[in-house]
Assembly symmetry: C2
Homo-oligomer: 454 residues x 2
C-alpha cells in the first residue's frame, strides 16, 4: 500500500481509546497553550484587518471565533483562529522540524466544533491525529523542505487541518486520501513573509484550506492517488530530499506530541536562548542599559539566517530580531507580550541596545544555544554560554507554568471564564459539547470600544 | 526599485488607453474563448461537487457564476469560474511557459464584476494586466518552476487574479505590492494532480486566493517587501533558476497576449499534434479502426512525462493520454468534447486502439510535433510527421473558428444568448456594465432536471 494509503487507513481506523494516556495529557497541554494564544492574539490588528476585508463575504455565521464577539462561517472562522493563534509567535514548537503544529489543527477544529456538535474526547482525538500527521510529514521532509524556504507551519499544517476535520466527518480511507491530496495541492507559505502579517496568515489559510479539502473530499472531489510520494507530488516538488519511512514508522505506537515544546517568550524560537541568557546576566549582575558599551553574540547559522533584522519598527519584526532579543533581556529583564509590541520596537533604550549588539555566526554553537559577551562602559567584561533555553524538551514549562501563560494572554475574557476554560482543557474528555468551551472563550458584554492590541 | 516595486508601479499607472489596439483585440479573443470554456464546463461534476461541498458556506449571493443559475459570494464564484473554465482543458495556452493564463484571471474578474459595477473597458484592461503579469512571472521562472512539478496555471495564476482584482479596486502601489506578496505566499498546485478534478481546482483556488490577496491588501494587511525576489521569496523557493529581467523588460511596450494560443482539442496541449496527425491520416487513407494492427508514435520527452497514461477510465485521464489521442484521431476522426468523456474513455474501440499504440521518446521531435507510423492488418505501412499542430502560433484559430468553438461549448445557454455574448466580447469596450454580459451567460428557465455532463 502507498504511504498515503497507509496514512489514510491508520487515520480511519484509529479510535480515541487507542491513544495512550500520556499522549492525551500532552495534547491537553497543547490545547491549553493554543487556546491561550488564540485569546492573546484575537484582538491583533492582523485579525481586525482580515475581518474588515473578508468578513463581508462570510457565509451563515454558525461558528464563533476564539476571543472575538463576531460569528462567521466555519471556514472563515478557521482562518481567523489560525491568525490569532500564531500572530504573537507564542504557540508551540516541534524542535525536530520547527513546525508550530497546534495552530492550523486547532484553528480548524475549533471552527468545526463551534458549528457542529463534537464531544470532547473526539475533539482531542482528532487534534492528536492532525498534530501527528503534520509532524510526521514534517520529519519526512526535514530539513530539505524547511531549508528550501517553506514556512512549514503553513505548508505542512494544511495536512493536519484536513486530517483533523476529516476525522470528525468520519471520512472513508479513500476520502481521507483525497483530502490529503487536496491539502497537498494547496500547500503554501513562504519564509520570506517572516516579520509581516502574512506569517500568521499561513496557519490561518492552511486551516481554511485543509478544512475545505475535507469538505470537498467528503462529497467526492478527486485528487491524485499519490499526492505525497508521486513523481510530481508534495515531497518531490516541495522538498529536495525526504524519507517516507518517517511518515509511517511506528504509526499509532510512537506519538509526536512527546516532542512538542511551549514557548516562554512570544518570538521566533531561535532567539529564545539569547533572551534567556541576557535576562540571567542582567539579574546576576544587576545590570542597567546605560552601563553597557557593547554586546557580542555568537549564534548558530540558522539564527542569523532567520533573525538578522536590526533596523526594525514593528512588533512583528521584533520577533525575528536577534538584536532585539538581547536588548529586551538586558534592558527589561523579561520577554513578555509587552516586549514585542510596536512600542517596544521603537523604544529608544531598546533601539540603543540593539545598535550596540553584534551577532556572529559560530558553527560550534547549537540552534538552542548562545554565547553572550558584554563589554561594560567601566571596562569590565561579562559573559555566559547558554545551552538549552527555557521551554525546550529538557526544561519544559510545567502544567502550572502553562496555566500562568494562559492567564497572561487570556485577558480578553474574564478571570472566571479563564478558570472555566483551563478546567475544560484539562478535562476535555468529559466535555459533552466543545461548543460550550468555545462559548467560554468569547468576551462578554459590549466591549466594542476596546482598543486593538498592537 | 525592486522588481516587485517596478511591477506594482506599472500596474498602478497603466491606463486603458495605453494598451495597443492589437493587444486589446487579442484580449477579446481570449475572453471569448474563456467564456465559452466556462459555459462548457459549468455543469461538470467537479463544479457540482464543489457547490455541494462549499456552497453552504457561501456569503451573501452577490455574484453569478458563468453558466449556472446559482448565485454565491464573489470569492466562491471565482473558485467555481476557475474550475469550469479549466476542467475540459480547452482553455488558452502560452506555449512559452505552458500557462493557461486566462482561467484564473477571468474567473476572478467575472466574479468581481458580477458583484460590483465595472465598465467593459476597465474590465478588459484589468484582464490584460493580470494576463501580462502571469506570463511575465511565468517566463522569468520557466522552465525551472514548471519542471520542478508546479502546475503554473495555479501557482502563477494567483498573481494574475490578485493584479486584476486589485486594479479594479484601484489599489495603491504599496497595496499592490502587498497583494503580490499575499498572492506569492498562497502559490500552490502540483502537476501530480493531472488527470483528477484537483487540476481544475488549481486555477479556481488561485482565482479565489488572488482575489482574497487584493481584498486583504486593500485594508492594510502586510506581506514581505520582496515577495518575488527575496532570498526566501517565490522565485528562490519555487524555481531553481530564474531571470527577473523577464518580469520588467519592455513592460507596457511588448505584450504577452501576442503569444497566446487557443486549443482546438479539449486536452493537454502536448497531445494535440498526435490528434491532429491521426485525424489527417484517417481522412487521407479512409481508415477504420478495424484495419489497424499497430501504431507507433515518436514524441518529445515532455509528452511521455505528462501523458503516459494508457489504462484510463475517466474523461479527465483521457486528456492526458497520448494513447487516447491516437485512438480518437484514428477511431473517430475528431477530438471534441465528446471524445474526452468517461464514456469515450471506456469505449471498447478506443480502448483497443490505445492498447495497440506505443509511444517512444525521441529527443529530435519537438514538443509541438509527432511522428506517427501505422501498420495495417493487410501489411501496409502508413505514416507522417507533423510539426506545428492546429491552434499553435503559426496556425492560430481565426476569430470565426473561435466563435464556432464558443458555440460548440456554449449550449447551456440559448442560441440568442450566445449571439449576445459573442457580440459583447468583441465590443466589450462599449459595455457599460459587465454584469449585463454575465447575465447573458446564465441559463434561462428552470432546468434543474438537466443532466450533469461527465
Amino acid at each position: 500500500m502507498s504511504y498515503t494509503g497507509q496514512l489514510a487507513t491508520y487515520i480511519c481506523e484509529s479510535r480515541p481509546q487507542d491513544i495512550p494516556k500520556d499522549v492525551r495529557h500532552e495534547a491537553k497541554r497543547a490545547l491549553l497553550n493554543i487556546v491561550g494564544c488564540a485569546l492573546g492574539g484575537a484582538e491583533h490588528r492582523a485579525v481586525d484587518i482580515a475581518i474588515e476585508a473578508i468578513g463581508p463575504f462570510s457565509g451563515p455565521p454558525t461558528s464563533a471565533v476564539l476571543g472575538r464577539r463576531e460569528r462567521f462561517d466555519p471556514l472563515f472562522a478557521a482562518l481567523l483562529n489560525g491568525i490569532s493563534t500564531h500572530v504573537h509567535d507564542y504557540d508551540d514548537t516541534l524542535p525536530k522540524n520547527y513546525i508550530h503544529a497546534s495552530s492550523p489543527v486547532a484553528a480548524a477544529l475549533f471552527a468545526y466544533a463551534s458549528a457542529n456538535k463534537v464531544a470532547g474526547a473526539d475533539f482531542l482525538h482528532a487534534f492528536i491525529l492532525g498534530f501527528e500527521v503534520i509532524s510526521r510529514i514534517g520529519n519526512a521532509t526535514y530539513p530539505a523542505h524547511y531549508l528550501a524556504g517553506w514556512h512549514s507551519t503553513g505548508s505542512i499544517g494544511v495536512f493536519g487541518a484536513a486530517i483533523a476535520v476529516g476525522k470528525l466527518q468520519s471520512l472513508t480511507s479513500l476520502q481521507t486520501a483525497n483530502a490529503i491530496g487536496l491539502a497537498a495541492t494547496q500547500s503554501a507559505g513562504l519564509r520570506e513573509m517572516f516579520g509581516s502579517m502574512a506569517k500568521s496568515f499561513h496557519p490561518g489559510r492552511s486551516a481554511q484550506s485543509g478544512y475545505m479539502a475535507a469538505l470537498l473530499a467528503q462529497k467526492g472531489f478527486t485528487a491524485a492517488l499519490l499526492p505525497l510520494e508521486g513523481p510530481r507530488g508534495f515531497a518531490a516538488v516541495q522538498a529536495g530530499s525526504y524519507d517516507f519511512g518517517k511518515i509511517v514508522d511506528s504509526l499509532g505506537v510512537r506519538f509526536e506530541l512527546h516532542d512538542n515544546t511551549y514557548k516562554p517568550f512570544p518570538s521566533g524560537l531561535v532567539i529564545h536562548p539569547t533572551i534567556d541568557a541576557c535576562i540571567q546576566l542582567r539579574d546576576k549582575h544587576n545590570l542597567t542599559a546605560d552601563q553597557i558599551a557593547s554586546v557580542q553574540l555568537r549564534v548558530a547559522p540558522l539564527v542569523k539566517d532567520l533573525c538578522n533584522k536590526k533596523a526594525i519598527s514593528t512588533g512583528l519584526e521584533a520577533k525575528f530580531s536577534i538584536y532585539h532579543a538581547a536588548a529586551i533581556g538586558l534592558g527589561r529583564g523579561k520577554g513578555g507580550l509587552a516586549e514585542f509590541t510596536d512600542e517596544a520596537a521603537n523604544d529608544p533604550t531598546l533601539r540603543a541596545l540593539r545598535d550596540i549588539t553584534d551577532a556572529r555566526v559560530d558553527p560550534d554553537i547549537g540552534e538552542d544555544a548562545v554565547a553572550v559577551s558584554i563589554r561594560l562602559k567601566d571596562g569590565r567584561g561579562l559573559g555566559m554560554k547558554l545551552e538549552g533555553s527555557l521551554g525546550n524538551l529538557e526544561r519544559p514549562l510545567s502544567d502550572a507554568q502553562l496555566e500562568a501563560k494562559f492567564r497572561e494572554q487570556g485577558t480578553v475574557i474574564s478571570s472566571t471564564q479563564m478558570d472555566e476554560v483551563i478546567a475544560a482543557c484539562w478535562n476535555i474528555e468529559a466535555v459533552n459539547d466543545v461548543a460550550n468551551v468555545i462559548a467560554a472563550c468569547i468576551p462578554k458584554g459590549d466591549r466594542r470600544a476596546s482598543r486593538s492590541r498592537q
